[in-house]
């Protein structure tokens, strides 16, 4: 059925219900954490969730676009690392001004996205491989630029890293969080209020049909990868703000975190269905699990992993149990 509950002015779609269930579970998990660990319940812990995962949030939002078209982008972590590396290198070695470096780095991210999108669409290379090659390339370029880890000493970065926006007595934000929220808002708006966004959904639903309906499939698909590239580059810059350093080893495995966040947020890997709000919740969930384990603080490395797995499992099972009604066809 299309609608749950009564057919009235307020209708809750099933997909919306899934997001709500996910949100509810997240809150429940947080509440449980606060009961078990007293210091857990503070506002700063919530804010920290955004601070510590800000870059992942931005990257995952970009990933959402790609997954909605039915593709996948494995290069995000590497492109983010490359952006950090470029920042560090251009600022530190070549002493270029920040106002040039940051746009340039974003452009490089977009360029990566464009390249992969172009190859995926026009040469019909499977997204998995095209972006895997992109991942190798971006990470490889990091090491070509510098094998060493580089500190970023540019005052813009160091100051940014320490800027705190007070938010009540004990809580404060970083600008990163605000950027993350802006990216979220823009992404939401793009997906739901622009033709490009709707075409992204249409392609994910059925790209052949989208083509026959006269939608600009090539442009849309390539742009989705460009958005992901842009978000990765931005995520890389945010990460550089966070760590004021760059290294080819940064953000290894981030692509899996991002994909996991998107999919846990209810987006279908086959494309065409999902919301960026879900992605935000997915990132929050991954962050919350980590936070709980940090507060637990007695687990060995392997029990940590097992615990992450079990918590993830519980969450997904509950999400599945509560969030799904029987599909009709």
């Amino acid at each position: 059925m299309t609608t749950l509950g009564v057919k009235g002015p307020v209708r809750i779609r099933r997909e919306h219900a899934a997001v709500l269930v996910t949100f509810g579970l997240l809150v429940a998990m947080f509440a449980a954490g606060s009961i078990v660990y007293p210091a857990f319940g503070s506002g700063q812990v919530v804010v920290d969730l955004f601070i510590d995962n800000g870059f992942l949030l931005v990257i995952a939002i970009g990933m959402t676009f790609v997954i909605l078209t039915g593709g996948i982008d494995l290069s995000v972590g590497a492109v983010a690392a490359l952006s950090g590396m470029l920042c560090a290198f251009l600022l530190g070695q070549w002493h270029w001004p920040v106002a040039v470096v940051l746009p340039l780095v974003l452009l490089v991210g977009v360029g990566f996205g464009f390249g992969m999108g172009y190859v995926i669409h026009h040469f019909e290379i499977q997204p998995f491989i095209a972006t895997l090659a992109g991942m190798f390339l971006a990470r490889g370029l990091c090491f070509v630029i510098s094998v060493d880890q580089i500190s970023i000493t540019h005052p813009f970065f160091t100051e940014w890293a320490q800027t705190r926006i007070p938010l009540g007595e004990e809580t404060n934000l970083t600008p990163t969080v605000l950027i993350g929220l802006v990216v979220f808002a823009v992404a939401f708006w793009t997906l739901h209020y622009t033709r490009f966004g709707r075409a992204v959904y249409a392609i994910g639903g059925n790209d052949q049909s989208a083509l026959l309906m006269g939608l600009p499939v090539a442009r849309t698909r390539i742009r989705a990868y460009m958005v992901s590239g842009l978000c990765s580059a931005l995520g890389g810059i945010l990460f550089a703000f966070y760590t004021i350093s760059a290294s080819g080893l940064h953000e290894v495995g981030t692509e899996l975190d991002a994909i996991a966040a998107v999919v846990i947020g209810g987006t279908l890997l086959t494309g065409g269905s999902g919301y960026v709000v879900g992605t935000v919740l997915g990132v929050m969930l991954l962050g919350t699990i980590q936070t709980i384990l940090r507060f637990q603080g007695t687990l060995s490395s392997w029990w940590t992993r097992i615990a992450i797995g079990v918590l993830l499992l519980l969450f997904i099972l509950l999400q599945r149990l509560l969030g799904s009604s029987r599909t009709r066809r």
Partner: protein, 503 residues
């Protein structure tokens, strides 16, 4: 007569192993409804796809308003003023009905899509076409007929110079077809050139002004509809004089077998889909389901197969009560089901034609008992010839077949299993005249051999022609059961539907 708005000259298109179009000329004038005719696989859809740039032609040219154009794709075609409904419903299943109507040309203000406007205009358009559907419903929750209507609404609303409709009526019932024709005529009078493909000769004769006939990818000729008799048309299409078109006289032979019913449904229903109903089908009996679009025929058929699980009632197959929790359970009891939406529920496009044909039998056998190569070839060969599936290459991927041939593949798939009860949901959808008659004959002869058939079709005449008993549905409720007799006419059935009474 003004100059042709659209002209195709010497167009050829080949696919590996198939010559789909060979040096075809085609003209379309403004203010005419032009029917493109041909058997299944004649090249109609290919011609249309070349025209809209989905395929690039191997040779030949397209002229629009006298000027040579090279259409790069559907998007380009749209900007050139060609609006198309392709044969298989090509919409996005994950979007709402309203969005499917407007996507790509959403009304927007300052770059932002105006959703309210979209919903309002979509609702307006849909009501104008008499489509009773919530514009906010996801498209994949709508029946195929609704989807087809949505595609038409979309194409028509793009006010274009040329409107192409490739078998738009294959799932529609009379009323909807009439609605569509009214719109088509109005557009024609406004000077739009309309290209129309259909296998319903009645419809073609009712609405078209001229027609072009294709056979085996080659042009046969261009005719004025009024001056071409049906017999001649069929002759041009098939290249032979058709004897199979003669009326089947089934309805008199109401020799119903008084044996144990193959299927006995007792109060079977499913919330939101169809109200509980009773149904009996005996061996050798053809039971037709009649009703308007969205009346619940498909839903009823699916319940008999376990494709959906009923939430009330019991089904007895061959005398024993069987819980139909999955299609598998039904298949084990000799039930076969040919779904209406061949693209999403029937065909497996990746597999070859041969594999698609043996799939059901193989699934029933289990993977451990594969059919021997020889047996497979024999079966596939036999049914491909019997149903005249072209091209006759069992190793061709099923996606490459023309729409009608794909439908035949699905039929073959189930015939091979030699079912006791065959459920056919719109089995003649998109099938050409000759083949349709053959399929009807096939159904009749199957029934003579003792197979029970549940037959769903939007075409009342067809239902009447071959069924022994007709179940009439309205508003997802079975309202009447009538034995078929000479006195029963399509009009009579429509009346029953309208009045909700048994005559």
């Amino acid at each position: 007569m003004p100059g042709a708005v659209l002209e195709m000259i010497g167009v050829s298109k080949g696919f590996p192993g198939v010559r789909a179009l060979a040096d075809v000329d085609f003209r379309l004038f403004p203010g005419e409804i032009h029917a493109l005719m041909g058997e299944n696989g004649a090249g109609k859809s290919t011609l249309i796809k070349v025209l809209t740039g989905v395929y690039s032609a191997d040779a030949g040219e397209v002229r629009l308003g006298g000027e040579r154009v090279s259409v790069t794709g559907p998007q380009h075609a749209q900007t050139l003023g060609i609006s198309t409904v392709y044969q298989e419903v090509n919409l996005c299943p994950n979007l709402t009905v309203a969005e499917n109507v407007f996507i790509g040309r959403e009304p927007s203000k300052a770059g932002a899509i105006r959703w309210r406007e979209i919903r309002r205009r979509a609702a307006e358009l849909l009501t104008r076409f008499g489509v009773d559907v919530d514009p906010g419903a996801r498209l994949d929750t709508c029946s195929l007929a609704i989807q087809q209507l949505v595609a038409i609404v979309r194409a028509v609303d793009i006010s274009a110079k040329v409107l192409i409709l490739d078998e738009p009526t294959s799932s529609l019932d009379r009323d909807e077809v009439e609605q569509l024709f009214t719109v088509m005529r109005r557009l024609r009078d406004d000077g739009v050139a309309i290209l129309f493909v259909s296998h319903f000769l009645d419809q073609v004769y009712e609405v078209s002004d001229r027609m072009t006939v294709l056979r085996n990818g080659a042009l046969v000729g261009e005719y004025q509809t009024a001056r071409l008799s049906r017999i001649d048309l069929v002759g041009h299409m098939t290249g032979r004089t058709l004897s199979t078109l003669e009326q089947l006289h089934v309805r008199d032979e109401t020799a119903r077998v008084q044996a144990e019913p193959v299927l006995k449904a007792d109060g079977v229903g499913r919330k939101g889909a169809i109200a509980p109903f009773d149904l009996e089908i005996h061996p050798g009996e053809v039971v037709g389901l009649a009703g308007l679009l969205g009346s619940g025929r498909t839903e009823a058929a699916r319940l008999m197969f376990g494709a959906d699980v009923a939430d009330s009632g019991t089904v007895a197959l061959g005398g024993a009560s069987v819980p139909l929790r999955s299609p598998n359970a039904a298949i084990q009891h000799g039930v076969a089901f040919c779904p209406e939406n061949r693209k999403s529920e029937g065909l497996i496009e990746d597999l070859t034609v041969g594999e698609n044909i043996v799939l059901a039998l193989q699934a029933a056998n289990g993977w451990l008992r594969p059919l021997s190569q020889a047996k497979r070839q024999e079966l596939v060969g036999r049914y491909m010839t019997a149903l005249r599936i072209t091209p006759a290459d069992p190793d061709m991927p099923a996606r490459n077949l023309s729409g009608g041939n794909q439908q035949k593949v699905l039929l073959a798939r189930w015939l091979i299993t030699q079912p006791k009860l065959l459920i056919l949901d719109e089995p003649t959808r998109g099938i050409d005249v000759g083949a349709k008659a053959e399929i009807q004959k096939l159904v009749v002869s199957l029934a003579e051999d003792g197979v029970a058939v549940l037959f769903v079709s939007a075409e009342l005449e067809e239902v009447l022609r071959i069924s022994h008993k007709i179940e009439v549905l309205r508003d997802r409720r079975l309202i009447a059961e009538i034995g078929n007799a000479a006195s029963v006419t399509p009009e009579g059935i429509l009346e029953i539907i309208a009045n909700g009474t048994t005559s």
